[in-house]
Every structure is written in C-alpha cells, then in structure tokens.
Amino acid sequence: MIAELGHFALILALLIAIVQSILPMVGAQRGARPMMDVAAPAALLQFGAVALAFAALTHGYVTSDFSLKNVAENSHSLKPLLYKITGVWGNHEGSMLLWALILTLYGAAVAAFGRNLPPALKARVLSVHGMIGVGFLAFILFTSNPFLRMLPVPPDGQGLNPILQDPGLAFHPPFLYLGYVGFSMAFSFAVAALIEGRVDPAWARWVRPWTLVAWCALTLGICLGSWWAYYELGWGGWWAWDPVENASFMPWLSGTALLHSAIVVEKRDTLKGWTIFLALVTFSLSLLGTFLVRSGVLSSVHAFAVDPARGAFILVLLVVAIGGSLVLFALKAPNLRATGNFAPISRESALVLNNLLLATAALTVFLGTLYPLFLDVIGGDKVSVGSPYYNATFVPLMVPLVLVMAAGPLMTWKRADLASVLMRLRLAFGAALAVALVMVIVTRGHEALAPLGIGLAAWLLFGTLKELAERIRLFQAPWEVVRNRLTHTTRAAWGMSVAHAGLAVTIAGITVASGWQQEAIQTLKPGESVTLAGDLYRFDRVEPRPGPNYSAEQATVTLSHDGRTFATLHPSRLTYPLQRMTTTDVAIHTDGFSDRYVVLGDPQPDGGWIFRIYYNPLVPWVWFGALIMVLGGVLSLSDRRLRIGAPVKRLKRAEAELAA
C-alpha cells in the first residue's frame, strides 16, 4: 500500500513539474503575475511529492518488503539497518529517485529563500528547473520505476553488492548528487537570464551561492569516492582516471571555473557571455556524467543495470538539454553587453587565464574519457586510455594554473602592475625554490616531477599566505591595526585563502603519494615477517570471524619499527555466500602523514598466505586538502554578502537611517 502511495506521489510530482515548467514561463513572457506566482508553491509541492515517494521506497527497504522488485533485487533481510537505508540509492532506480529528490530540493530552496528575486526571473528559473524535473521524473516513471511489484513474493532478497556495503560509499552518492544536481541551479539561472536577455551583478550574486553549495558538495563527494576506492578496493591507490571518476571530475573542473568567472560578473560586470556558457557547460557535463554512469556504456561498479531503453532516454534528455541551451546561447548571448573594462594585466585577466586553463583541462579529460567510446561506436579498435594519457595532458596544464593562482589574488582589479606583484612575491618564490631544491637533493636528482610538484605546492601556499599577510598588513602596521584588519577580513576573502591553501596541501599529497609509494607482495606463514620502508610487518595468525551476512578470515599483523611495536592490523577476507563473492577488508594504519596498508590475499597450499603491503606516504593529505577546500567554500558561503537578501536589507537600513 505504501509503495503504491509512493508511486502515486511520483506521478503527481511529474504532473506538478509539467505545470511548473509551463505556467510561470508563459506568465513571465506576458507579465501576468498570478501565473508567475504558481512557480514557488509548485516547486515546494513537487519537492514534497518526490520526498514522499522517496520515503515510501525507504520504508520498503527498512521493512524488507520483498514484494517490491527493486527491494528484492537489492536488499536482504539480514543486512544491517544502515545498509538497508543506503541500499535505497545503491541501485539504479533508487539512485535516480535520489537524483530527482535533490533536484526538487534545490527548486524548493529557490522557492523558499528567493523572496527578493525579481518575480519574472524567479518564475523563469523555476520554470526551467521544472523542465529538468519533467525529464528526470519521466525517465524514472517510464524506464526505471522502483515501485514495481513482483509475484510471487520471494522469501528473501538477493542482497546488496558487498563492496557497496560500506559507510564511505553510503554517503558518497548523496554528496556527489548534491554537487552534480546543484549545478542545475546555475543552469536554470543561466537559461532564465538568456531568455530575459539580461545578466547583471545582481544575477551573479544570486548564482554564486548556489554554485558554491554545489561545488562544496561535489568536492566532498569526489573526496569520499576516492577515499572509498582507496580503502575498500584494496589496490593501494586513490585515483585511477577511470571514466566514472572522470565523469564527476569534469563538472568539478568547469564548476571551479564558473565559480571564479561569476566573481568577475559580480564585481566588474563583464565576462557575462562566458559565465553563462560555463554554467550551461557545467550542468551539461553533470548530465553527461549521469549518462555515462547510468546508461551502461561504461562497465563499472556504477553500471547497475544495462538497459538500452534507459541509455537512449538519457541520451535524448542530454541532446535536448545541451542542444537547446546552446542554441539559445548562440541566439541570445551577442546581446549581453559588458560595462567593465580591464587591462591584459589585471585580476580579471588572471581569472580569465584560470578559466581558460581549467576549461582546457576539462577538455583533455573529456577527450580521454570519450575517445574510446567514440571509437567503439564507429566500429573501430577497442582501446583504453589510462593514467599515462592524463599525466601527459592534464598535469602540464595544471602547472601554469598553479603558477597564476598564487599571483592572481595579489593583482588589483582593472589594471595591475606585474613587476610589483612579482616583487611582492619574491619571498614566496625564494622559499618555493628552496623547497624544490631540497627535494632535488632528497631525490638525488632522479625525480623531476617530485621537486616540481612540491615546489608548486609551496609556491601556492606561500603566495596565499603573502596575500593574507598583505591584507591584514602583518609586519607593516601596528598590532592594533593588524588585529582590526584581521577581524574585518570578509569571510569570502578567508574562504579564498583557505581553499587555495587546501589545494596546496592536496598537490603536496598527490606528488609524494605518487612518487614514493612502496609495495611488497609476499607469501607469509604465521610467525614470518617482511620489511617495507623500514617497518617490520609480522604475520601472527589467521582466525575466522563471523559477520551478519558474511563469513571472514581475519589475520593479525604486528607492525614494528626498530624493534618498537607501534600498531596491530587486522586485514581480512570476507566471503558473502549470498552473492558468492569474496572481498578484501584492507587494514590501514595512518599517522596523518603516511599510511601502512595491508591486504590479505589467497591462502597457499603450503599453509602460507599472500600479503600485499603498501607504504603510502602523505596520501592522507590528498583528502585533507580537499576537506580544507570544502571548508574554504563553506566559509565563503557564510559571508553575509552572499546570503540572499543581505544587500536589500542593508539598503532598507540605510533608507531608515536617512529618514531618521
């Protein structure tokens, strides 16, 4: 009964979405206020209906209602409660429902918080948002309905793929979708602005917080996914340029560019066409990512099911959304007039360069991801593109990006003096050079990439610190002035410094982790040991360990350094009888700087076990850096200027003061 209610709510949501996409748009064109006013309640209702459907499906999972086909195929009565709930989005149908839930959540947020948006803009934004909703709700109802019943009712479910039963993965999809789908806001605002033919600083001030929310969530989602792949899959790495990873990384790259170009629109009233274009491209890449992952053209852990109808449906959605918006852009963009002017050496230009490099980097990732598919479709050779390709294309583009990144914030708007900026950065440059030289000595000149990467990270960090020090006039003014400036630095400015420093930490982590990983593969009998990177790993014993829906063999490995024991690890092998699958449970000892990573392999006929052991220096910094970047984004988001309505309030207060 509850499932039927969910199904009904989903159909209702589709109908509301259709109304929401037509009436407000017509109203906005005719200037009919009552029709425009339909948008906000419709968006809220649509969210309510999808939330109800989602709750109904969750209820089916929690109560193990195996008469639902989706539950029977993806859940099991013995599964822990957490994974029953996360199992809702651990399959194709449920994850698309989550997609729709988050989409309508953003629409509802605009309806609820966008009170002081101009009514016509708000109506058009929500109308475009409604159109996206129509597309995805129809996709769910017609090709991926999670509420189908199944007769006869099976006694128990087939269970969730064991490698998906993990806390890291449980929260990876919601954050990833909050990011992916969050760019739909920028898209809706961009299309609405194109229809209105007007982009102004106020528009950018509304778009920026939504883009920032999406960017933070996407950063966190990618970070969680990478961390999960690291500790769950047992391969010792954290990023493999897998097409599925690229699918989330491309919107991140263009979203980052969008974040920066929107600043220029807000502050300087220029780069409008480009910003609109980036908004369209970013959401298009999100859609493309959904298509790649959901249509089954990629064989991966994310390709839950392969159904040509679904692939075709998403492809049509993709063509309509991307094609339609780009045609609109081509027709309307030439009318956008910029007022701000700037010199080739200025903060605007630095941001343009940032945008060009990020866009080019996204393009190289795009080509590497889609070329094998393209070749396969035209019936050519079967090829795969691996990390060497990305190391040869993506990495060289990041070098100038980071070089400019440290200098950009020191430049003034409109016109900057390059010589003076470089003079102010001489200390940062010297320090970065010193760090790079130390790295050359440490690696004895064998490695070229390590000094470069660490040098760049240092350059970015010191450049960011220098900008912060100048802003608060550290060492230049009396302490009272410094303290005053410190407390009056805007949150947005803090956010920029923190996010840039976070990237420096990530670059350091990536460089060291990829340059100094050490690996040992060894068959050990109980009592034997192996040495890796100066640490002694002693294999003590293997014991059986019971689990709720699996059985496991758990090894005990003692780690010591110079005879001093510092950790005991328990890597294990899990056998899931239901899926007839074996997975490894990696044991990791981390001290914040480096990881000791132990994987238990197969037992051998002679009584030994194979062990795979990695020493991964600085790998935690990859994720620390990403978390710092997210922190920077959240700081910037908490800036009062970005909170919608703040400028209006201030204006009213000023008026009140004038009147008094």
Binding site: N91, S299, P344
Partner: protein, 175 residues
C-alpha cells in the same frame, strides 16, 4: 586598450590554450592508447613487443599453473580458435579462475608469451567483460545458452544487480 584589442588578446590566449591542449592530447594518444586484441587478432596482427596492450578471453580449463609461492601465474587465454600463453606475477583477483573471462594488460614477450602487468578479472561471476564477449562472438565460440550465466554487456536482463564488475574491484586491477 580598446575593447577590440582586448578581445583579440583573449581570443589569441584561448587559441593558444587549445593549441597546446591539442598538441598534448595528440602526443599522449600516440603513446598511451592501449589497444585490445583477442588471441586470434594477436596472431594476425603482430603488434610487436614494445607497445602496451590488452588481451582478453577465457582462461582455458586445465592450463593454470602457479609457482614462486603462489605469486607467479602461468595460464592460457583462449577465444576458442587460438590460445595465448600468459604469465603474471602478483596477486590474482578474487574471481580469477579457469573457465572465467579475463582481461590482461601488459606486453608481448620475445618468446611469444604475453607478460601481464595487471589482471582484470571481475568480481561478479555472472559478468563477462564486453571485449571478451565480442572476441568470442567474432571467433564463433559465443554460446549464450551454455553461458547463460555470462550474458555480456548488451543483453543482461538476468543480472540487474551486476554491480561488481568494475576493473577497480579486482584485486590488482590497477597499475
């Protein structure tokens, strides 16, 4: 600085970015595209011993021999027409066994064996790598009735939850 001149500078900057990207991409494609061969293709095309490539097929029954403390795997990969000897040093993925589909990445050795650097066997035993399915279809050895549990990529109504087929989940799938 007029608007026109500024626009010209940015268009030039954009073009040079694209130019650099094109150069990098073409260069990287030249060196880093990894082609897939079935054992029969390999005999016909002789790709040489310098290029990294992928091969795939079924692990032939009765051909698997392990040595060096369980770390060295010698086996034959077949597409039904041609056999190829493969050697791999490392830890095999959990579902690597005789009769299963496998994709290996590595280089040809001078003696005609394939020296695999990574093995990509899949976790889910219902799964057949699409390249292997295609290779078997091409050699006429594709028998969906026998391999009812191996429906391949294009027609998999039975395995709506075959989520475990990422190359990533095989034990040593990634370099």
């Amino acid at each position: 600085m007029t608007r026109k001149r500024r626009r010209l500078i940015f268009v030039l900057a954009g073009m040079s970015c694209l130019g650099i990207a094109t150069f990098l991409v073409l260069n990287a494609f030249d060196d880093n595209l990894v082609f897939f061969y079935s054992p029969t293709d390999l005999v016909q095309k002789h790709p040489g011993t310098t290029k990294r490539l992928r091969i795939g097929g079924l692990v032939e029954n009765g051909s698997l021999v392990t040595s060096e403390g369980g770390k060295r795997f010698n086996f034959k990969v077949t597409d039904g027409k041609t056999d190829l000897s493969v050697s791999y040093l490392g830890v095999a993925p959990a579902l690597f066994r005789e009769g299963q589909g496998v994709v290996a990445e590595g280089k040809m050795a001078a003696d005609g064996r394939f020296e695999a650097a990574t093995l990509l066997a899949k976790h889910d035993e219902k799964y057949m790598p699409p390249e292997v399915a295609d290779a078997l279809k091409k050699s006429g050895e594709w028998r969906p009735d026998q391999q009812a549990a191996a429906p391949g990529a294009a027609d998999a109504p039975t395995s709506s939850k075959n989520a475990g087929d990422a190359p990533a989940n095989s034990a040593s799938a990634r370099p």
